[in-house]
Symmetry: C2
Subunit: 246 residues, 2 copies
DNA sequence: ATCCCACATTGATCCTGGTCAATTCGGGGT
DNA sequence: ACCCCGAATTGACCAGGATCAATGTGGGAT
């Protein structure tokens, strides 16, 4: 049940003149979406708080209801966030991609469990230290609040998907949503890479693995997409988007 | 499509020596759950920004995707928050009770539509003015951020309900969840008052009105509850909670 | 009181997606 | 090459909840 976690050498020399909005392979801290709120001095201060680590596939980052000690920023790989019911049913509440924060709630305990689907690289912050840093930078807190409300908006969209859409619409909106998120972090492609298993997709969409499989097959048969190893290529994006339309 | 909104006389004389955490019938501002973060001087400053209004049953507070001009704090009544699909299907993403904030996302546009189920009293703040006030009070922003993440947590719990629970479990968790929220704002009772229609409950739980009705009838037949005018009385709270168990 | 109308309940039937079961596929190890 | 094992696909059947339709109920207007 304990995260099998490998802390990478801290590489304390990784100083860099990173500009706001720019990515930098040397910096430990690469929170793509908040750096706009920080100047380079602040980024370096944040960098000093960061620890890099790597999580192997299937290893656990944190577990629901356990004390929240750490804030994570993903630099590489995909993480699934989920809740379990007592009888073992699982609902995946989201997939976290590079650039995303985990544990931002700054609550005492984690609200859900998280584990690595692929090999995942993160930088970690002590929740206490991160909170203190935040107290010094109200504009950063503001930015983070915007993040949290964006997450809320995503969650509400997913409530619509879970409550009011057919299996085919669910799968279509999943594919389109994932493609859009990947595009926003720079991975543009007609082929949507699916790091997660069919079971993960099913548990995200409130379906069974068989229904996901059948639905993808049917969409392939109807020339909307082709199933390729490790993902799906959209042949008729228009038609898929129409199904996903909100 | 425009909110039929009646602005009540502003009652500018409503000054009071309200203490943190205390409720006050005279103050315009009674944001039950944030006042802990404000001293009485700050509360008076916030009070000066507030405008009271009343919304008639079925009137609209705001509409999804329209420019967000106003932040609301509910002082009385129940509001439904929902998203519509192009074909008219509706998903209610939450019910807002007295003490709750609406429009807190501080985003440019509202993420969902909101309308009054009963007669609703609110106090309104200009989003701009509220944002400026927030910039002066980082600790208040912090509090608000905690709120937003609590909302997120509620939304994720609801995702589990929508994706992984049977009709009976959905209805049970709705009743228990509502009862708990009412208890937290001081309305403790074995009878859960249901201000919302069966259609509203159905659209919240991802069911049809018929299934909600049948499920309540069955639970009544099995002596778990009695259906009373305007609500439901739990006869066997233990059994209902067991169905709702997370 | 009576009518009206929206809301709620109940019943009969249908259909989407779940369940159970049998293959098939694909990657890794020897 | 071969086997192995977990993941995915496909098929046959089932059931929970949706749909369609009829009936009941309660509050407001006249």
């Amino acid at each position: 049940m304990i995260a099998r976690q490998t802390t990478v050498q801290t590489d304390g020399s990784a100083q860099c003149g990173m500009h706001a909005g720019e990515r930098c392979a040397l910096c430990k801290v690469r929170p793509v979406s908040i750096c706009a709120a920080l100047d380079s001095k602040e980024l370096c201060a944040l960098d000093a708080l960061a620890q890099q680590s790597v999580f192997e596939p299937k290893s656990t980052l944190f577990i629901q209801d356990e004390p929240a000690s750490t804030v994570f920023n993903i630099t590489e790989g995909v993480v699934r966030l989920y809740k379990l019911l007592p009888d073992g049913r699982r609902q995946i509440v989201g997939f976290a991609l590079p650039g995303d924060f985990l544990g931002l709630a700054m609550a005492d305990r984690y609200g859900c469990s998280a584990d690595a689907i692929e090999t995942v690289r993160v930088c970690r912050f002590s929740r206490i230290a991160f909170g203190a840093f935040l107290d010094e930078k109200p504009h950063l807190l503001r930015r983070l609040h915007e993040f949290a409300t964006h997450e809320l908006s995503l969650a509400q969209d997913q409530m619509v998907v879970l409550g009011r859409r057919s299996a085919e619409e669910k799968v279509a909106s999943f594919l389109v949503g994932l493609q859009n998120r990947l595009a926003r972090i720079g991975a543009v492609s007609a082929t949507v890479p699916l790091a997660m298993s069919r079971q993960d997709i099913a548990d995200f969409l409130g379906l069974t693995i068989e229904t996901v499989s059948r639905t993808l097959s049917r969409m392939a048969r109807e020339k909307m997409l082709v199933i390729v190893p490790g993902g799906v290529r959209l042949l008729d994006p228009k038609r898929v988007e129409a199904l996903a339309a909100r």
